[in-house]
Amino acid sequence: MGGKRMSGIDQIVVVGAGASGVAAAYAAATSGAPVILLDEQDAPGGWLRSSVSMIEDAPEMLDGKRGFEAASYATVLLGSSSVDYRPGTVAWGLFENGSLGVVGPEGAYQLRPSRTILATGSTEIVWPFAGWTLPGIMTARAARAFMHLHFVLPGRRVAVIGQGNDADQMAVDLEMAGADEVHRFASPDGLVAEGEASVTSIVKDGDRTHVDAVILALGSLPDPELARHALTELRYSESDGCHVPIRNAHMMTSVDGVFVVGDAGGMTSVAEAVAQGFVAGYAVTRSERLAEAIGTLTDISRETAVHESVGTASDIPDDVHVDREEQVTARMIRDAIETGSVSVNDVKRKTRAGMGVSQGRDTEYVIARMISEQTGISLDQLVPMTARPPARLVSLAALAQLATAVD
């Protein structure tokens, strides 16, 4: 474990190697700072790695490239820089003293950077419906990983749920990969998935469609979980449908030295993610190129459509598990709300919803809407769920190793 506990005053750590994280690390490194880039995946690119679609509004160097090609470009870019890139490495906690809990191939260790740039991306929106926990039902990212990284179709007769860009692209992806049938469903409301060991059909208004896979392609939410560990101030974002960290023009949060870039701060285009990365990378190194980077970011137009919920909370059947891991039903959550729970934290304490390994990321979106519909409290007035470490699965053995290292 020698040499892994950094305390250099100028050390920059970037968490996440998607478009914005790579841009931030590259910008900081070219400005002369020592940069460590932590990536939970095996190779740079984030979600772009498993995307075959053309990047829209791409910055010049990514013009006309498909997602996976942009990811390859990120690999080349990092290789040509002084960035200390660490694949397969998870940052599971950001603590009050600014230290990061990290687990990588070499084991568990702590980093104590002077500046931290969080480029942790987004998490997929999911929505419960009858039978949704059956094997064969998966999210768009899981389906894309199977198809585009591992050359396996999720099924031959596939239902796609969703009506936005994500679902449209999934239908294209499935047909390109050779699926026999693609059936579209605009919303999870009223759907019933049937099957024993795995899904075999999906029923809507009494019509049964035989399928061997169902893909939830409902879009994504910003995932600033590590920023939330650090208790950065949040605001409700109408276009994202959830709370996001408040940031200044340098992409810094309310916590000194903690920056957020890319989707983690609010859903972005690739061009915007890259531009934000450059701003933060130059800001942490006080580069003379900062003003120009801010100008580039300002020139990028933002979509500001208000986020619409992907499903109707009151339509979720009582006996459906809203929290898949803790197996908490919609009825249990409704009862908790009826008896006075008016925040996601309250519901969590009463029902265990959100206490599973995935730490409530999936369920917070749904439970917030259940509370809002049932009580009339608007989403922006709901207290966001408290995020606590670990942000990822961490073995007790790894934590024990860390405890020894800290002593």
């Binding site: 999210t139 990212r141 585009h148 050359f151 179709l153 795995s198 197996q327 990822r392």
Partner: protein
């Protein structure tokens, strides 16, 4: 129905670089898998979707988000419980079982 869900050739991506085929045992039957691919991909290619049951309810579960954050992708491999099947590569002769609930303990030799 076709016996495999493998994509032989993708119009944009071409074909899989992994070539070496081995035999693994999954849920009591022998299936073909590619060395280096995630166990979950090998299972899916052979139409095996159920990788575990849930504690308490015994409800079947398979890969859902596939990003290593959920207990739903943990299975039993060579007798060891709670192995992440989306990030653990296939090796020759592996024995994959449907994990029952929280799984069992393996005594260290």
């Amino acid at each position: 129905m076709s016996t495999t869900l493998r994509i032989e050739s993708h119009p944009v991506l071409g074909s899989n670089e992994l070539r070496t085929t081995v035999t693994i045992t999954a849920d009591g039957r022998e299936i073909q898998a590619l060395v280096g691919e995630p166990i979950a991909a090998a299972l899916l290619a052979s139409g095996i979707l159920k990788i575990r049951t849930m504690p308490g309810t015994a409800a079947p579960r398979g890969i859902f988000t596939g990003v290593g954050r959920s207990i739903e992708e943990l299975g039993t491999v060579n007798g060891e419980s709670n192995v992440p099947l989306m990030s653990t590569p296939v090796e020759d002769g592996m024995v994959i079982e449907v994990q029952q609930g929280l799984g069992g303990w393996v005594e260290n030799a």
